[in-house]
């Protein structure tokens, strides 16, 4: 018995040592920020007709966190996330933010699709003193009013605001055949602001254009035929439309059925470059029902810019989720990498230090170079507009015939003056 024990002892000791060594080498590096993990609170609409946008926010955030954690986290700190549904309701968004910060202990907040939710969150972020990186909500008031005027410094926007939709004016300003413009607008601030910005921008180049009609469709409209008829009665050469997500798909299909594309020269669908919209109109695009007249943009499109960073992002995203990323996925993904850069520079999770680290930041993201604008905490970048075409490579429609403009041409710049609302 005694011999047996001595035989096993060196073997047991060796195994124990090996285990200790393996633990020592595989143990995650110590978090240099003194927290067990960096907690990220993410929210977006995850129920109802716009739920895909919240889902894309969640997918983008999850992928960024997985990638960062696989490479050792931020300063040795692992990232954790809690995602919540804001139901597109401001009250729910505010409650979520409070829960995420005070109960979950989120160090940073992300997401939010609706402008209404974003505007409601602004003052609460100041009270909670937490930075939220907004990755979809597009109202100009979020940054122009709440940040630049009221000084709510905890607001940072990574996605392009409503300015971007004025890009249509730059795309079509040199086409003399298009003189009569009309809109089928989303019947709330987004639609009015787009129509106002578009008219203001186009008038600078084309005093001869006429704005002949406007029909406003409330949120969750399913029958656009009265709006289409009202606008078509004015014989427009071109239409700019702002209903988005599933509503954009419905509107475009109904316009096809009503023969609109036989009568007009151009239809510009403001957020029509989003993956969900492109998937929704795939059959019509493949069949050529839009006759090459449908143009669109988005806050990010997966086939531009043609950089290694973007190509790799899209490839990884497709591999991880079996889908293409839409803009809310890319902006949230980039927002987390922006956080990483800022925290690594600040070496702190404190709001003021992280905000100081954001100053002057220029960061390469899948959407291209993003530059932090200090006056309104808006990251500036460009997204092209393009014609909706069928892509054999992606087996779905994409934006082709791309028109790229410098953001200084079509973005608004401080000091801000009120946007002439279009309605």
């Amino acid at each position: 018995m005694r011999r047996m024990r001595w035989t096993w002892a060196p073997l047991g000791g060796t195994v124990l040592l090996l285990l200790l060594f393996s633990q020592a080498f595989s143990a995650p590096p110590q978090c240099q920020l003194g927290v067990p993990a960096i907690k990220l609170g993410v929210q977006g609409v995850a129920s109802g007709p716009h739920a895909d946008y919240g889902r894309q926010i969640q997918m983008g955030a999850t992928m960024a966190i997985e990638e960062i954690n696989a490479k050792g986290g931020i300063l040795g700190c692992r990232l954790e996330m809690r995602f919540m549904d804001d139901e597109n309701r401001p009250a729910t968004g505010v409650r979520n933010a409070r829960l995420l910060v005070t109960e979950y202990g989120a160090h940073f907040l992300y997401g939010t699709d609706s402008s209404g939710v974003a505007m409601a969150l602004g003052p609460v972020l100041k009270e909670l003193n937490r930075i939220q990186f907004f990755t979809h909500a597009a109202t100009h008031r979020l940054t122009e009013e709440l940040v630049a005027q009221q000084g709510i410094k905890q607001i940072v926007r990574v996605s392009a605001p409503v300015y971007q939709d004025a890009i249509a004016a730059w795309v079509f300003k040199d086409n003399p055949a298009i003189r009569r413009w009309a809109t089928i607008g989303a019947d709330y601030e987004y639609g009015y602001a787009v129509w106002g910005l578009f008219r203001e921008t186009l008038r600078k180049f084309r005093p001869d254009v006429e704005f002949v009609g406007a029909a406003w469709a409330p949120f969750l409209t399913t029958d656009f035929t009265p709006h289409i008829s009202a606008v078509m009665a004015q014989n427009p050469d071109a239409i700019i439309a702002t209903p988005w997500a599933g509503e954009a798909v419905t509107l475009l299909r109904q316009a096809v059925l009503m023969g609109v594309f036989d009568k007009i020269q151009v239809w510009f669908q403001a957020m029509g470059g989003s993956v969900d919209v492109l998937e929704g109109i795939a059959r019509e695009v493949q069949d050529g029902r839009f006759k090459g007249k449908l143009w669109a943009t988005a806050r990010y499109i997966h086939n531009w810019p043609n950089t290694q960073t973007n190509r790799a992002f899209v490839e990884r995203f497709q591999k991880r989720w079996s889908r293409l990323p839409n803009y809310s996925a890319e902006t949230t993904y980039s927002a987390i990498y922006i956080t990483k850069a800022a925290v690594e520079k600040a070496r702190s999770l404190e709001t003021d230090k992280v905000l100081a680290a954001l100053r002057g930041m220029q960061i390469v993201t899948p959407a291209g170079l993003r530059v932090f604008r200090e006056e309104d905490h808006q990251f500036v970048y460009t997204v092209p507009a393009g014609r909706v075409v069928w892509s054999e490579r992606y087996n779905m429609p994409v934006l082709g015939d791309l028109r790229i403009f410098d953001p200084k041409d079509y973005w608004r710049w401080p000091p801000f003056t009120p946007i002439p609302m279009g309605k």
Partner: protein
């Protein structure tokens, strides 16, 4: 006497429990997190909203789908006042009075009808107010709503209480809620409240006894609208913002759901329902983003399992226990009763 003693002890127990709850909630900010305080303010607001609604539904038999309209009027008017003149009391009273005025007009038009026609009318009026909130941009801020509403100080003569601290605001809301609940209790136990129940049970019989049915319905409607306005006016200082969804019919559904959960024929039903609704949802959203499915199933189980509402079932159980105790208590034998019988 002994039976009366048993009943008296039971009611003493109820009063002691109510007193314990009052002390517990009054001291809540001292021992709980900011989020729990915030959530409790929401529960109190929904409780007031649902109490007013139940005066119409549970006590008068009128199902309104437009209470969110008055809730929104209270919220928007309070917000506008606070943006111009930062006085919390002025904002809350102003919001409540505005909702009262609007309910006077809407009530005069709505109580001419009953059942589904009344419900549809109130739904239509509620959605008109929603459309106004959405479209009247100069006043309501349109879809983005009114932002940056201050949690103004409570000014009482020379005294000004700072309300930027959430626990201070909680105390203000708690005080108002207790006052409003007490006032509602007085209403439903008054001859007016009993008359409303008579109208609910049989409109024809009530009118044959000379009760002015429409006038009673009208005043019940106005009180319900005023309570909705009070609840709504407590929201903007809490959230610093007010947006059109507060006027949407889905907001009108919240007091309906709370009341059904808690119990329509129990005074405390709407309060218990508001508490359950918030707590259950808060627990579910922490676990899954598919909260609506889980919440729906939970509500179905509660509504089917607790017929008459959770508070209704608990009140029934309490009464049964008291009845059993009373029945076990021996009836005192009257002195000289045997002699009388013989």
């Amino acid at each position: 006497m002994m039976r009366n003693g048993a009943i008296g002890r039971a009611w003493l127990g109820v009063r002691l429990f109510t007193g314990f709850l009052l002390i517990f909630f009054a001291l809540l900010p001292r021992f709980s997190s900011t989020y729990v305080v915030y959530l409790t303010i929401h529960i109190l607001i929904l409780s007031l909203f649902a109490l007013g609604f139940n005066l119409l539904f549970g006590y008068t038999g009128l199902l309104s789908f437009g209470q969110a309209g008055f809730y929104a009027v209270g919220a928007y008017v309070c917000a506008r006042i606070l943006l111009v003149r930062p006085s919390l009391l002025l904002g809350v009273v102003g919001g409540m009075l505005a909702a009262c005025l609007v309910s006077l007009v809407v009530g005069a038009l709505s109580v001419r009808h009953t059942r589904i026609y009344f419900s549809m009318l109130t739904l239509a009026f509620g959605m008109i107010i929603f459309s106004l909130a959405w479209k009247w941009r100069d006043v309501t801020g349109g879809d983005d709503g009114l932002v940056g509403i201050p949690r103004a100080p409570l000014v009482l003569g020379p005294l000004a209480v700072d309300m930027t601290r959430l626990d201070h605001y909680y105390s203000f809301v708690f005080f108002l809620a207790v006052l409003a609940i007490w006032f509602m209790y007085r209403i439903v136990t008054s001859p007016f409240g009993l008359t409303l129940q008579a109208i609910r049970d049989s409109e024809v019989r009530a009118s044959f006894t000379g009760i002015p049915v429409r006038a009673h319905r009208f005043w019940a409607f106005v009180i319900a609208g005023t309570y909705a306005g009070l609840a709504g006016s407590l929201l903007p200082p809490l959230e610093n913002t007010v947006t059109p969804p507060v006027a949407h019919w889905t907001t009108s559904a919240e007091p309906v759901l709370a009341t059904l959960l808690g119990g329509i024929h129990s005074f405390a039903g709407p309060i218990v329902g508001a508490f359950l609704l918030f707590v259950i949802k808060d627990l579910i959203v922490r676990v899954t983003i598919h909260w609506s499915i889980v919440l729906g199933i939970t509500v179905i189980v509660l509504v089917m399992g607790f017929r008459g509402g959770v508070a209704g079932v608990l009140a029934g159980l309490f009464q049964r226990v008291v009845a059993v105790k009373v029945s076990r208590t021996p009836e005192p034998i009257p002195v000289g009763s045997e002699g009388e019988e013989s």
